[in-house]
Symmetry: D2
Subunit: 92 residues, 4 copies
Amino acid sequence: MHKDELLELHEEMVEIKETFSGYEGVDASVFEPYEELDIDPSHVHKSKSEHKHAVFVLGNALAVAMSEDEFSNAGRISKRMEELADDAGGKL
Amino acid sequence: MHKDELLELHEEMVEIKETFSGYEGVDASVFEPYEELDIDPSHVHKSKSEHKHAVFVLGNALAVAMSEDEFSNAGRISKRMEELADDAGGKL
Amino acid sequence: MHKDELLELHEEMVEIKETFSGYEGVDASVFEPYEELDIDPSHVHKSKSEHKHAVFVLGNALAVAMSEDEFSNAGRISKRMEELADDAGGKL
Amino acid sequence: MHKDELLELHEEMVEIKETFSGYEGVDASVFEPYEELDIDPSHVHKSKSEHKHAVFVLGNALAVAMSEDEFSNAGRISKRMEELADDAGGKL
């Protein structure tokens, strides 16, 4: 990858971070490791490796966000199924 | 997240996949696990969980792609440093 | 990290890969990217960076395996809930 | 996977976390998301999904740790190469 390509990827991933963080009820704290890097797609003088690192952290954060949502969801569904089963048991 | 929000994230991540895959000399095979899911942002009747899975796989693939690039890069730099050191050793 | 520390981590992660792959009904194909690296904890002459890469790939593969299991599980639970709801609907 | 299998994987991954965290000069903060889960392999009454989540977070944290080490390493090598080049330039 050329540097301008990495800057473009970085830019697009920051847009996704913003799209995601704008949703209601999501845990935007998954992007804290990115904020700690203190790098921005406009920092053209930072190295390719630093921008690559930023894209790594952003991609990983998004994957973790999806996974967290699914695991917490599983917990909720499992509780609701038990309640439903209890409820159905009572009625049948 | 609502379903339309997941479809939007999925759509944006597919654009990033295409941006990345269009670059020269990159290993687009990191996205094979996504292709194997056989899901598309236009599949509005698939479940939220399936689209969330797709976004997970795309985010992880991008992170892996950056990491692969960095690790293979490290190998190249390390070899070139040795050559440079040998070369410098000969000249000094 | 020193090289012997990386070799130790690599060794322990290979044991986890084997523990996981020995279970019934799991998708051991998540470890294919590791097999493709063609590296082993006994390859003491390979670089630190290569062993670090191996540990990265193993850790990521295990995370992906857990995530795949959860996402496919969610699909199954969601189908069973619908069946249960239909079934309960018929009986009530 | 059966629950006892997940508990075994969880146990083995905690051992790896301890191996890693015992090394000098490593950034053990990558395991903070695991500590926040407040789950332990001995918590046999927690759900399969919760233990699976724990293994996911541990595997991902280890992968992130390796990646962080490599990216920061790349920064150091790149700086040293420049210094070496300057130094060599002065002597030649």
